[in-house]
């Protein structure tokens, strides 16, 4: 029995060595400290697995979705009502997207509170912020594609946003080209432009994780400038656990898809603004209530700028939250403010910000 096990292990080792020699798989490996296998330090990997689910389900959805404004809504109804697996795949796509936003935000919070943006990981923090912006772009364009009332109003906000940006915003406006409707162009952004940017940035993000190693635990005396070059854990076990958690994410999306299938409103009607945006954008809606459409541009710009400056403003050499009271307190206050705004908007009736504008997609 023992001899058989040894033979099996020897075969697996030979197979691994043969593959590694040709494919350089061991080049992907990085040192794995014990804490890297905890849930908090796997949120990035879980998010990446979520994106793989989104790509797989998205490819299926593209077989049925028609990005022509006169056909888009009908094609979604057709997908839900008449295709095999269509409703399920769309619902899993919808719920996975929501869960990915949650894991992305939790990943960002973990990095922030653990001080993992400090030297030498400042650049990777910025790449991570760019990936967050791309994720938000995915959510926005995905919302527009279903082409119901909520989608149409999101499109109007896209137009308002392009006007705020002036010359730079012309690419986001329907007047950029008369040959392709705005909806079709946003579809191209959703399935081509954003995935391409995502792939480039995630490659850089992972390369930097490998280069710097896993950030240390923010223990009381842990200091910035620490490279994660030591670890007793096996990389294969680390990846295995990550995939395991990713599969749980898929199972959760499946259960949510079963209980609450992805919603769809009625075909859009120009006129009053009667819907609210997806939960990720609720805090922006509050600013729009107060200052008009300018609230779409300045608050997110300021927020992203502040986040980008965090590694350069927080000069404390320590990682522990207790030793960085000012940064952590400001972060908590900002977080509570954004959550509070979102709850406030969720509980108040919708307000019309953009009237008298209409477009055919």
């Amino acid at each position: 029995m023992e001899a058989q096990k040894t033979v099996m292990q020897s075969r697996r080792r030979r197979l691994w060595e043969a593959l590694d020699e040709r494919l350089g798989l061991s080049a992907l490996r990085y040192p794995v400290p014990a804490h890297a296998n905890t849930l908090g330090y796997m949120l990035g990997g879980i998010t990446l697995f979520g994106f793989l689910i989104l790509i797989a389900t998205g490819i299926y959805l593209t077989q049925f979705y028609n990005p022509d404004p006169s056909q888009a809504h009908d094609s979604v109804v057709y997908l839900v009502e008449q295709t095999t697996f269509g409703d399920l795949v769309r619902s899993i796509h919808y719920w996975t997207a929501n869960l990915v936003v949650v894991t992305v935000l939790l990943h960002l919070l973990r990095i922030f509170f653990a001080g993992a943006y400090k030297r030498p990981r400042e650049a990777n923090w910025l790449v991570g912020l760019a990936l967050l912006a791309i994720t938000i772009g995915f959510v926005f364009t995905g919302t527009v594609l279903k082409w119901d009332q909520e989608a149409y109003e999101a499109m109007l906000h896209n137009m308002a946003f392009s006007e705020l940006l002036g010359g730079i915003g012309s690419w986001f406006s329907p007047s950029f080209t008369l040959s392709v409707p705005m909806l079709t162009r946003l579809y191209a952004v959703h399935i081509a432009v954003l995935p391409a940017l995502f792939l480039i940035l995630i490659a850089i993000h992972l390369m930097l994780v490998k280069y710097h190693g896993i950030s240390p635990l923010p223990t009381l005396n842990a200091r910035a400038g620490t490279w994660g070059k030591e670890g007793t854990g096996r990389f294969s076990a680390h990846l295995r656990r990550m995939v395991g958690y990713g599969l749980w994410l898929l199972a959760l999306a499946g259960v949510l898809a079963l209980l609450w299938p992805a919603p769809l409103g009625y075909p859009p009607v120009p006129g009053a603004e009667v819907t609210k945006p997806p939960w990720l954008f609720l805090w922006l809606y509050a600013f729009e209530n107060w200052v008009g459409t300018a609230g779409l541009l300045w608050p997110p710009l300021v927020l992203f700028l502040l986040l980008a400056l965090v590694p350069f403003l927080d000069r404390s050499p320590y990682l522990a939250p207790r030793k960085r009271p000012v940064t952590v307190t400001l972060g908590v206050v900002l977080l509570l403010f954004l959550v509070g705004l979102s709850v406030y908007v969720a509980l108040t009736p919708p307000v019309s910000h953009i009237q008298g504008q209409g477009m055919g997609g």
Partner: protein, 193 residues
């Protein structure tokens, strides 16, 4: 040396399979594309109420052939023709004036079960934004979300397999003392990165 020789075998088998599949595709597919039932229409983009010229071949010799359009809005019967002795036909049909715009499959199906399809686009007469004058609403549509047994099975497999496989993969790492100094670098279980 053994891994190298087995890799040479794998290389040869892959190369032979690639050549075989390539020959199959080059020889088989064009042949199939020109065999069997065929239908085509002109123009390929047409407005509701206009005439569509339809031509078929090898469908139902001396028998009835039904013509209809199939799209996301449903099936629209265009009429019936009789196949000649080769199973072909030429006809013109008027499209229903209330035909919703969209992409359709023109389907010609004989009583013998032989079927051919062709893609036809029905141009939008008016934008869907202006078709139904009504108030904007944030209400959600009541969609027919009844699931087939295959879909239930699919969902059960997705959830069940993800839960079980996820639990197995996410199990904590067994702490084993390295057998030799080089063991940790070489991934002792041989399972790779």
């Amino acid at each position: 040396m053994r891994p190298q020789s087995s890799w040479v075998h794998v290389g040869w088998i892959t190369a032979l399979l690639t050549v075989a599949v390539g020959i199959g595709l080059a020889v088989g597919l064009p042949g199939r594309a020109h065999e069997g039932a065929e239908v085509s229409a002109y123009p390929t983009t047409v407005a509701p109420g206009e005439t569509l010229f339809v031509e078929g071949a090898d469908i139902n010799p001396n028998g009835p052939i039904a013509l209809f359009l199939e799209g996301v809005k449903g099936k629209f019967r265009l009429g019936q023709v009789r196949g000649d002795e080769d199973g072909g036909f030429k006809t013109s049909v008027a499209l229903p004036p209330d035909l919703p715009p969209g992409t359709y499959l023109l389907v010609a199906v004989g009583a013998n079960g032989e079927k051919a399809t062709f893609s036809v686009t029905v141009a939008a007469a008016v934008s869907s934004l202006t078709q139904e004058p009504r108030e904007p609403t944030d209400a959600l549509m009541e969609l027919d979300r009844s699931r087939s047994s295959e879909e239930w099975a699919f969902l059960a497999v997705v959830i069940g397999l993800s839960l079980l496989l996820g639990a197995w993969l996410a199990r904590p790492e067994r702490m084993v003392a390295p057998a030799s100094p080089s063991a940790s670098a070489a991934e002792p279980d041989g399972s790779g990165p």
